[in-house]
């Protein structure tokens, strides 16, 4: 699959939701923990060598599962291969909590669900579609049918 690395690099320079130096271990067997600057930007998690300006890699966070890993770390895996995990080590329980919460809400699909939830609730409470005033009620991305039952 072709993609423009420069586009991703530019994205990695955008203001981050969260950024910190964490221990990181890849999914391959026998991989070791390395210190990485980890940066959450929109629905991507970038990771840098601590002394480099360009990321080593990026993880798209759609359909991912964030799980706590003892003692104070977490893992990210993806729905199609739940055993293949990227491990992260935090320096404290608080930091771990902060990251897991942020990562669980970092996907576009999570936002879509939030929006559909709010839209439905407002419709129920007020009888009005809150998106109508913006002229976007027909947009595909906001449709109630988008929610998988």
């Amino acid at each position: 699959m072709r993609y423009n690395e420069k586009e991703l690099q530019a994205l990695s320079r955008q203001p981050a939701e969260l950024a910190a130096e964490l221990g990181m271990r890849g999914p391959k067997k026998g991989s070791v923990v390395k210190r990485r600057l980890v940066k959450l930007v929109v629905n991507f998690l970038f990771y840098f060598r601590t002394d480099e300006a360009e990321p080593v890699g990026a993880l798209l966070l759609e359909r991912c599962r964030v799980a706590r890993e003892e003692p104070s770390g977490f893992s990210i895996s993806f729905i199609e291969d739940p055993e293949r995990k990227y491990y992260f080590e935090c320096c404290s329980e608080e930091q771990c909590q902060e990251w897991t919460e942020a990562l669980r809400q970092a996907s576009y699909e999570f936002m879509r669900r939030s929006l559909i939830f709010y839209r439905k609730e407002i419709q129920k409470m007020t009888g009005k579609d809150p998106l109508e005033q913006f002229g976007i009620s027909e947009e595909a991305r906001f449709q109630l049918s988008s929610l998988k039952a």
Binding site: M1, R2, Y3, N4, E5, K6, E7, L8, Q9, A10, L11, Q14, V42, N43, F44, E54, P55, V56, G57, A58, L59, L60, E62, R63, R65, F78, I79, E80, D81, P82, E101, R104, Q105, Y108, E109, F110, M111, R113, S114, L115, Y118, R119, K120, E121, I122, K124, M125, T126, P130, L131, I136, E139, A140, R141, Q143, S145, S146, L147, K148, A149
Partner: protein
């Protein structure tokens, strides 16, 4: 730069709804000159969230390309071939060439430009925040209304409350109309989380929210992410129970739990 391509491909092919799809002509690709020329190549494009994928055909199982629609603008453009309904995705970043695309007709061109312009994460977040605050306003004005009518209705409603409560849930209405003041304080009957989850998926947890005295999520909390986390914790506990009971089997609940 490494990218979790397998997962990205999986997301592209998944049955999560696409925000826009269609055939477009594209220039650029392996072996093409830096300046677009000729008629381009016709590919099947799929827009999901802030990601634009192209495929060889509608049945394609491997994306040909990915464009991340962040930090870009979409403008009408001139195509190398005449009478093309062209537009370009232009990036601010240095050294990033615009992606030139052309639709089959003016309606498709307009639809694509619109869809792509609104594809960014920031746009979605803006709309979510707007609705979040609108919901908060609606809840607050509802709470005020209830408070003022509380004394008048409460005695009438009391004996009916449990039925109203379950009726509210059955109908999917978050506000059992005939005993709304009770909805706020009536302690929720025991709920199975499975049912709660299903309701959440279909209707949103507001109906449970409004009636639950013990809930860490008070009626003032309109934040989806808080609800999400709260259910997440409950689900983790339940899964532990399920896994203990169904040792070894791949938790089918995994699918239920996952968002």
């Amino acid at each position: 730069m490494k990218l979790n391509e397998r997962s990205v491909t999986h997301y592209a092919l998944s049955d999560s709804p696409a925000d826009h799809t269609g055939y477009l002509r594209t220039w650029g690709g392996p072996g093409t000159p830096p300046t677009p020329s000729g008629t381009g190549r016709r590919c099947w494009f799929v827009l999901k969230g802030n990601l634009l994928f192209s495929f060889e055909s509608r049945e394609g199982r491997a994306p040909l390309s990915l464009v991340v629609l962040e930090g870009c603008t979409v403008e009408l453009a001139e195509a190398p071939a005449p009478e093309e309904f062209a537009f370009a995705i232009c990036f601010d970043a240095p050294g990033v060439r615009p992606h030139l695309l052309a639709a089959d007709g003016p309606a498709a061109q307009e639809a694509w430009v619109k869809a792509l312009s609104r594809a960014s994460f920031g746009y979605m977040r803006l709309v979510v925040r707007e609705l979040e605050s609108q919901l908060q306003d609606a809840r607050q004005s509802l709470a005020l209304h209830r408070h003022s009518s509380w004394k008048a209705i409460s005695s009438r409603c009391k004996p009916q409350a449990p039925d109203c409560w379950s009726l509210g849930l059955e109908n999917g209405h978050s506000l059992p109309r005939d005993c709304s003041p009770m909805g706020l304080v009536e302690e929720g009957s025991s709920r199975s989380a499975g049912r709660g989850l299903a309701e959440w998926e279909l209707q949103g947890p507001a109906s449970l929210l409004l009636g639950r005295k013990q809930s860490p999520v008070s009626p003032e909390t309109s934040c989806f992410s808080t609800l999400h986390n709260w259910y997440g914790q409950e689900i983790v506990e339940l899964r532990r129970g399920w896994q203990q009971r169904a040792r070894g089997s791949k938790a089918g609940c995994e699918e239920q739990v996952r968002l």
